[in-house]
């Protein structure tokens, strides 16, 4: 780890000001990716601006048909919140499968979404639910937000403040975790919101993506059989030491089917 200054601002404005004043400052939330990166000397920020405790970034509430979660909300809070478990049980269930207890106790929603790790779980939910990512400057639609591996629409000095999830009619997430890291080798989030079906896939490709063929097939017929009839082309999917593209292609279908079955077999639409 290189030397840096640790700063804990009292307000979001102060945090933004600090980020604007120091070119090499980085915001710190749960630190689940940033701290290991620093330890490996892969980053050399001048300042770490600790935003985890800012009240502007906290809170879970349901208003106007949307579930709104503050960016600094930890995974464990999403997993156990009665508000989330009632309004959007699939999201609470997703949060309960992230990493391990240590990660869930530190990691935050905003941190995960801003980092956009290609194997992270939350991006699948944000994209499939058509959520809106709010920053201190603007609101960004999920479809515009994720732009590939570790890349998002976030600009310099911009901080995610909260994420607004439209409440789906039914939704579920199914995941095949990497046995060691707990990241999604592949994860599929299926959601039907306002009569439209969206399917988002994480872990299988270079960044979270919408699986349009699955969406079209499910729009025709909302059943696991619609998924099973699809042919997934493995070209373009991830191939690494953990699994080849062909195996991930298989997982996409299996997990999408399982998410569908979970939705159809459960009135609550919980996770498979």
């Amino acid at each position: 780890m290189y030397e840096f200054s640790y700063v804990k601002p009292a307000s979001l404005d102060e945090a933004a000001q600090l980020l604007a004043n120091h070119d090499d400052a980085k915001p710190l939330s749960g630190g689940m990716t940033l701290i290991p990166t620093l330890k490996q000397r892969l980053a050399q920020p001048s300042h770490l601006i600790d935003i985890a405790a800012l009240t502007e970034l906290r809170g879970i509430e349901v208003t106007a048909g949307q579930l709104i979660i503050g960016a600094a909300t930890r995974h464990i809070e999403v997993a156990t919140s009665m508000t989330v478990r009632t309004a959007l049980p699939a999201l609470a269930a997703l949060a309960s499968t992230i990493g391990d207890p240590q990660v869930r106790n530190r990691g935050t929603l905003g941190g995960s979404v801003a980092n956009n790790d290609p194997n992270a779980d939350y991006p699948a939910a944000v994209l499939a639910l058509g959520a809106t990512v709010h920053t201190q400057r603007r609101a960004i639609a999920a479809d515009d937000f994720f732009q590939g591996v570790f890349t998002t629409a976030i600009e310099e000095g911009e901080l995610i403040t909260r994420i607004a999830f439209p409440l789906p009619t039914r939704a579920a997430y199914a995941k095949f975790p990497h046995p060691a890291s707990g990241f999604a080798m592949t994860g599929v989030f299926v959601a039907e919101t306002g009569g439209r079906v969206r399917v988002a896939v994480t872990g299988a490709g270079p960044g979270v993506f919408r699986w349009r063929e699955a969406e079209a097939a499910l729009a025709d017929r909302f059943a696991a059989e619609s998924i099973e009839a699809l042919v997934v082309d493995p070209s373009g999917l991830n191939a690494d030491i953990h699994a080849p593209a062909e195996y991930r292609a298989n997982l996409m279908k299996v997990l999408a089917s399982r998410a569908l079955r979970a939705i159809l077999n459960s009135s609550e639409g919980a996770v498979a």
Binding site: A180, S181, A239, I241, Y247, N250, V254
Partner: protein, 762 residues
């Protein structure tokens, strides 16, 4: 009878672990926690190429960093030690790379600094120029490759069967054990059935949660080495040899070990810290990271070609075994693994015609050596998968096929040694009884298919070896055992204390066991290969008996009836007029052994005892993903008499679960010799969530007549059957046979696709 003289039997008592409270409250001493004034921390710069000549090493930028004391290379080491090569089997491993590097990750230079972070930072500024050489990684290729990892073989004098390799050039074969019994080829030509298969295992790492750590403290005319080692006496011998010093100028001490599993046998980083401390004239500490452990030592990857002739009535008449052990760039104790385990390659079966070729082979990978089971799990994986395939092909129940061929008491093992106190059949009987093998079994439905499998393996003890022990009885009747057996979590201190108490007629809680310190604890070959309960157990028993003889004489002299610690205390007080004095009991034991004949590989006494372990598995396969859930794991071993049943139980489960990780998920993945997953985030060892749904362990009610109080070693037996039992159960569940470890979901799914004629293309 007077109630006072009825003493509780100490053997067979589940005495609670003596260090338990200290460990769970964080008070137990570990080498990592030692702080010495003036200490320098060493951090390594490692080779990034697999094979090459060192042209130059640029350490100038590292030396310029504020806080750096010095930077040391192999040539600097040579100023201190002219021939700085170490190793138990071959003197082939340089303290720091000299002239050549032979694997990615090999230590090339060390930065010494007062702050370990400064040392690490400076090590990152070192660069080296190499003339790259072609490298060889696969063990079968390396056996005949024109690429040679070492120009010339340099066997150490320790092992007579390596002498003939001295000075040999143009080879990567570091040991070639052969067994020739009968005529296998004639059997293959005439047998009713012949089966031939090839199996593979992968390179894995021990992952002790206390990584390697050593601290060398130079004194006026001696050196003290604080180190996390399984073999303090050997460390002393090897350091004394390297320095040309007498043994008594080298003091080696340990504290509790946070796991060893064979990684910490012989010497590892000790020569490096000693050389650095003597060069710097200051104490030097090196604590490796979890990542660095992957570059120190691992478990042999293997290729095993096995061929069996089977008669029409299902008896194995001949077996031919060709085993290639991937030893990596330095031999370490690998040649012992390939020989001591190699001669058991035919398995626990009565086979009249047998042929074994078991070769330790150098490659340009990190070294491989001892690993819980000492090579046996790799062999059992192959021969018990092979055995199951044969049984299924002949339509014989796999249990029945094993029982038909299993070695029984008095039978001759292919090496020519008769089986004694080796309860193979009883292990099979107990596994099958616990599993209800003859009962109907729920095979699952749809995408969840269930199967079950069994496997059994055998291991010989490393021999000949020697243990010494010393029992010091104080004037209050309490005793301290001085013994070099290292308690690295296996509970040996508690068990050894029980042996002392049993002989003295006191309670185990009144016996304390010292940590190893070669200045005071007597010689022992080392804590490895499940040898301690047998060898050190005998030495401790003899030492305690020697003490008891003297105590009885003291009591007779003072007119006190010898009963327990109270009578001992009375006798001391009467003799010396106060609570004063000591009685020292000493004992030593060397196992009986007859070396294998060089040409036939045979011996009438090839091991002092046999270890036997078997596993039964019930599992469920998710046919859509290849994911396996172990529903039930039944481990049964013959460990002789259990000195401490609870310790024995945890040794069985610990060994079996460790092997389960080696079976299902662990794998060091190399790309052109470069390790791609040296991190616990990518290298999966089992955690609590990966445990079998149910696990049962049983140590047979057995007795090893040649062992102390009927006991023998148990640290490894639980590993033997796990891998093939799982593979056999997978085959039983879904009709897919796998020949390579690990059995990952992807590998299983790949097998499922191939079986339905739709192979996964890469």
């Amino acid at each position: 009878m007077d109630a006072k003289v009825i003493k509780e039997e100490q053997i067979g008592r589940s005495v609670p672990r003596m260090e338990g409270a200290a460990k769970v409250t964080g008070r137990a001493e570990y080498i990592h926690n030692i702080r010495l004034p003036g200490v320098l921390h060493g951090k390594m710069f490692r080779s990034r190429i697999a094979h090459g000549r060192i042209v130059s090493i640029d350490t100038s930028a590292a030396r310029a960093v504020a806080g750096v004391h010095s930077v040391v290379t192999g040539e600097d080491i040579q100023r201190l030690i002219a021939e700085p090569y170490y190793g138990p089997a071959f003197h082939d491993q340089p303290v720091l790379a000299l002239h050549k590097v032979r694997y990615v990750g090999e230590p090339v230079a060390v930065v010494l600094a007062t702050d370990p972070h400064v040392a690490e930072y400076a090590a990152g500024l070192i660069t080296a120029q190499y003339e790259e050489l072609p490298a060889v990684f696969n063990e079968v290729e390396a056996a005949t490759s024109p690429i040679h990892v070492h120009d010339e073989l340099k066997p150490a004098i320790t092992f007579p069967d390596l002498k003939h390799l001295k000075g040999k050039r143009g080879t990567n074969i570091a040991l070639d054990y052969k067994l020739r019994r009968g005529d296998v080829e004639a059997q293959f030509a005439s047998a009713a059935h012949v089966f031939e298969h090839e199996f593979h295992t992968q390179h894995i790492m021990h992952t002790p949660f206390e990584p390697f750590v050593a601290l060398a403290e130079p004194m006026d005319d001696s050196i003290t080495i604080h180190t996390s080692t399984q073999m303090p006496a050997y460390v002393r011998l090897e350091i004394a040899r390297l320095l040309g010093w007498p043994e008594n100028k080298v003091k080696v001490r340990t504290a509790w070990l946070g796991g060893g599993f064979g990684a910490k046998v012989y010497v590892k980083i000790e020569p490096m810290v000693v050389a650095l401390a003597l060069l710097a004239r200051r104490p030097v500490k090196m604590s490796l990271t979890m990542e660095e452990q992957f570059y120190v030592i691992g478990k042999h990857a293997t290729t095993f070609r096995i061929k069996s002739a089977v008669t029409a009535d299902g008896r194995i008449s001949a077996r031919k075994c060709e085993v290639f052990w991937n030893g990596g760039a330095y031999a370490d104790i690998g040649p012992r693994v390939s020989q001591k385990s190699g001669f058991t390659s035919t398995g626990p079966y009565r086979i009249e015609h047998a042929q074994i070729d078991s070769a330790e082979i150098y490659t340009n990978l990190p070294p491989a050596g001892a690993f819980r089971g000492f090579g046996i799990p790799q062999l059992v994986w192959a021969y018990e998968s092979h055995t199951d395939i044969i049984a299924r092909a002949l339509n014989i129940d796999p249990l029945e096929f094993r029982r038909r061929n299993i070695l029984r008491e008095g039978d001759e093992h292919p090496t020519g040694t008769a089986m004694r106190d080796a309860e193979f059949e009883e292990v099979l009987v107990r596994i099958s009884a616990r599993m209800g093998w003859d009962q109907p079994f729920d095979r699952g439905t749809g995408t969840k298919r269930r199967g079950r499998g069994i496997a059994i393996g055998v291991k010989a003890s490393i021999a000949p070896t020697t243990s010494f022990a010393l029992v010091n009885v104080s004037a209050d009747g309490s005793a301290v055992l001085f013994c070099n057996t290292i308690d690295m979590g296996q509970g040996s201190n508690t068990s050894m204390a029980q042996l002392v108490a049993q002989v003295l007629g006191t309670s185990s809680e009144r016996v304390r066991v010292t940590q190893a310190d070669t200045d005071v604890t007597p010689f022992d070959m080392g804590t490895l290969g499940s040898r301690s309960m047998f060898h050190m157990g005998h030495a401790v028993r003899l030492a305690a008996e020697h003490a008891r003889e003297q105590l009885e004489a003291l009591c007779a002299e003072t007119g006190i009836e010898y009963q327990d610690e109270h009578s001992i205390a009375q006798a001391f007080r009467k003799k010396f007029g106060m609570q004063a004095g000591n009685i020292f009991g000493v004992g030593h034991y060397t196992s009986r052994y007859q070396p294998a004949d060089h040409d036939t590989g045979m011996s009438k006494e090839i091991t002092p005892f046999w270890m036997i372990g078997g596993t039964g598995i019930e599992l469920e396969v998710d046919t859509e993903t290849g994911h396996v859930t172990i529903l039930r794991m039944v481990n049964v071993v013959d460990a002789g008499r259990a000195v401490n049943p609870r310790v024995v139980d945890t040794q069985i489960s610990g060994a079996a679960l460790m092997q389960m990780g080696a079976t299902l998920s662990e794998e060091m993945v190399f790309n052109e010799g470069e390790l791609t997953n040296p991190s616990l985030a990518f290298y999966k060892i089992p955690g609590m969530r990966d445990m079998p749904v149910a696990i049962e362990n049983e140590a047979l009610e057995a007795e090893t007549r040649s062992g102390p109080f009927g006991a023998k070693g148990v640290g490894e037996s639980g590993t033997f059957g796990v891998s093939p039992a799982i593979a056999n159960a997978i085959d039983d569940a879904i009709g897919v046979r796998l020949y390579s470890l690990p059995l990952t979901p992807e590998a299983i799914y790949r097998g499922i696709c191939a079986a339905r004629g739709e192979p996964l293309v890469d």
